[in-house]
Symmetry: C2
Subunit: 402 residues, 2 copies
């Protein structure tokens, strides 16, 4: 292990400040802070990935256009309202959020990234937000990670933070972050946000490659209900405070950095799944032996997103027939007679047919809170892993509206 | 209207007999008939469509190979066991079902089509089935449609029959059928079967084209949970007893025939959706103005299969944000600012943004048992329609296993 887990989340890395204020973006009767801020007094390089949904919220569009800025200093984010499907007026509002944060922290608007999560199709109460954002600099703290993590929660039941320390060029380098999850208790809530920071010195291009790779191995591997949000955003800032030799293409330290970042994003992704709505089980789907990587992914995602497999897991039913069925329609190359399926290493299907494992043993495994299902297609050497959940009656209740 | 609805289901057409016997294929404690037979004493031409799932049940494989037979006489089908994921032994068993039916009715095995629906991965109790199939000829009746329809039910709550009469060359021609639905109360049940008959004289090639077109407009347009079964089968037999001039390519009667057949399959498809598990609402999704037909279909299916839209419908929540979200990730060409969405003709979204329609009016519509959602993308002239349902807590309970 070339890194150790530490506390501190998005402010674990040197030089980053975070904080939150209460504004009341959401109509609901709560005094929970709902605007979060992350700030770097030092110059940074930024990287980000955004939702590929063609319906993109206004803040996503604004942040995408600011990503080319060479010195992003601020991330401002609100919960309670997604500022999505709000048209030209919504874009204007997102820009006013940016302007307010830029003014409060004396930076240029292009140095501000903006995110929103919450209700779709409702105008932001921008006037009171501008007033609240003015108070944000006073709320910034070098240990403010948790408060920022709490402020971006919607239906999340706990704040999500993670950080590690590794060593590059003999210098301690820290990577950490906060995230909010795929909770959708309120109508139209459906967003995953993650803000990452590091004190590593790293080139912008290398940072973007590292973030894209980390997201691919983590947030792109989790699925609760197969619905992709209009607001999903991952942003990472690197300020170089660790004093390592800047990580350029080919630098040996890049591998260490990537491993540390992967560990942070994978753990944040896992926390999101574990806190998914109405979730009673955490399910890892490993597909091995696929003809190619695209097929491996198709197979894993079809099994993870099948309403029927998810209902069976909820009921503790080792229903491998539904897994075979999903494999059959997923579009991946498949030979029924070479498929093996394992529950926590115990064989359930051998060559496309029931194994000799007693049903009672499989039932015991599926009764657990954590299940690992391994599918070997025996057609090649490509593999893929997805982290998912069951589908509970509680999930339906949480998402059926008022 | 060039046809009238009549009673009689799959035995509405002249010359077809149907019946059922009790065998006890399923372990459960019931005396409900569970093997159905459809028989034509006259020569027929046959057409069929089968599941495109790569995991195909043994009876599907056998029936596919018998489809080239020029004179199919028998359809034998059992409920309670899908004979899927049963390997070489399963194929053998399906052939024994065929042999038993062929012997009982004195036809060649290739003249028999075979179907199974029910549990996956469990061997058929073929010995007692052979005994039961021997009794089938005595059970055949010219009004036996309902008994056959009842025998193929699994978690269906009612038998599904439909028939029409039209006129071709001045002769009354009848088209009818029975179906079983997408019910999955028992673990691993997930099959749609439909058996159709007509007394029209028609060429085999024309019959296949008509059946394929009818299936495309009906069974391929319905979705309850997006899971495609290993056993889905539609079979049609035509015996020519109506005495019309045989329908060859270009015959004017073909259009009349197609319209009649479409009406039968659409109504059977609708009955399947209405009887879906735990269904409280029937939802029609119309997508208009798509750039092309593939996009229209992607958009309609993404909205119909979104767990979140379905939960909202269950709760009577006019949650158009989730529809916008699904449109955004479905892969179809989309301009957010040109999307209009209507609930029963009342505009909810205008140009990608909330319309002025009061929320209370939309709520009243979504509270209904039948909802029509029309989405206009304003990008072209392609359209597509899908029939679907809500996702209820009852659905989850029915599918969570024992």
């Amino acid at each position: 292990m070339s890194y150790t887990e530490i506390s501190g989340g998005v402010t674990a890395a040197q030089g980053f400040l975070a904080g939150s204020v209460y504004c009341g973006v959401k109509a609901a009767n709560t005094s929970r802070p709902d605007i979060a801020l992350i700030y770097s007094p030092q110059a940074t390089v930024a990287a980000a990935t955004f939702t590929t949904n063609k319906v993109k919220a206004a803040p996503v569009r604004v942040s995408m256009s600011h990503l080319s800025c060479n010195d992003v200093r601020v991330i401002v984010a609100n919960a309670g309202n997604a500022n999505a499907c709000t048209g030209v007026a919504g874009l204007e509002t997102a820009k006013r959020m940016v302007a307010a944060a830029a003014k409060a922290l004396k930076v240029r608007p292009r140095q501000v990234m903006v995110c929103s999560t919450g209700r779709i199709g409702v105008p932001l109460p921008i006037k009171k937000m501008e007033t609240a954002i003015r108070k944000l600099p006073a709320a910034l703290k070098s240990n403010g990670s948790r408060r920022a993590a709490e402020a971006i929660m919607t239906s999340d039941t706990f704040a999500k933070e993670f950080a590690v320390e590794c060593e590059i060029d003999g210098k301690p380098v820290r990577v950490g972050g906060i995230a909010k999850g795929a909770g959708m208790i309120d109508p139209n809530m459906a967003t995953m946000l993650c803000f990452l920071s590091t004190d590593a010195a790293i080139d912008k291009k290398q940072l973007q490659e590292a973030v894209s790779a980390a997201v691919e191995q983590s947030f792109n591997r989790i699925t609760i209900d197969g619905d992709m949000s209009t607001n999903d955003t991952v942003i990472m800032l690197a300020n170089g405070c660790a004093g390592n030799k800047p990580l350029r293409q080919g630098a040996p330290g890049l591998k260490i950095f990537q491993r540390a970042l992967d560990h942070v994003t994978r753990n944040l992704a896992r926390l999101i799944v574990e806190d998914g709505e109405g979730v009673t089980k955490f399910v890892e789907i490993h597909v091995n032996g696929a003809a190619n990587m695209i097929d491996a992914r198709k197979a894993a995602e079809a099994v993870a997103n099948s309403t029927l497999t998810k209902c069976a897991w909820f009921g503790g039913d080792p229903n491998w027939g539904r897994i075979m069925d999903a494999l059959g329609y997923c579009g991946a190359k498949l030979r029924e007679e070479t498929v093996d399926i394992f529950y926590d290493g115990l064989i359930a299907v051998k060559g496309g047919m029931p194994s000799k494992t007693p049903f009672s043993k499989l039932k015991k495994i599926v009764a657990q809170k954590k299940i690992t299902i391994t599918i070997d297609l025996h057609l090649g050497s490509a593999d893929y892993t997805v982290f998912t959940t069951d589908l509970s009656t509680e999930y339906v209740k949480l998402n059926m509206g008022e």
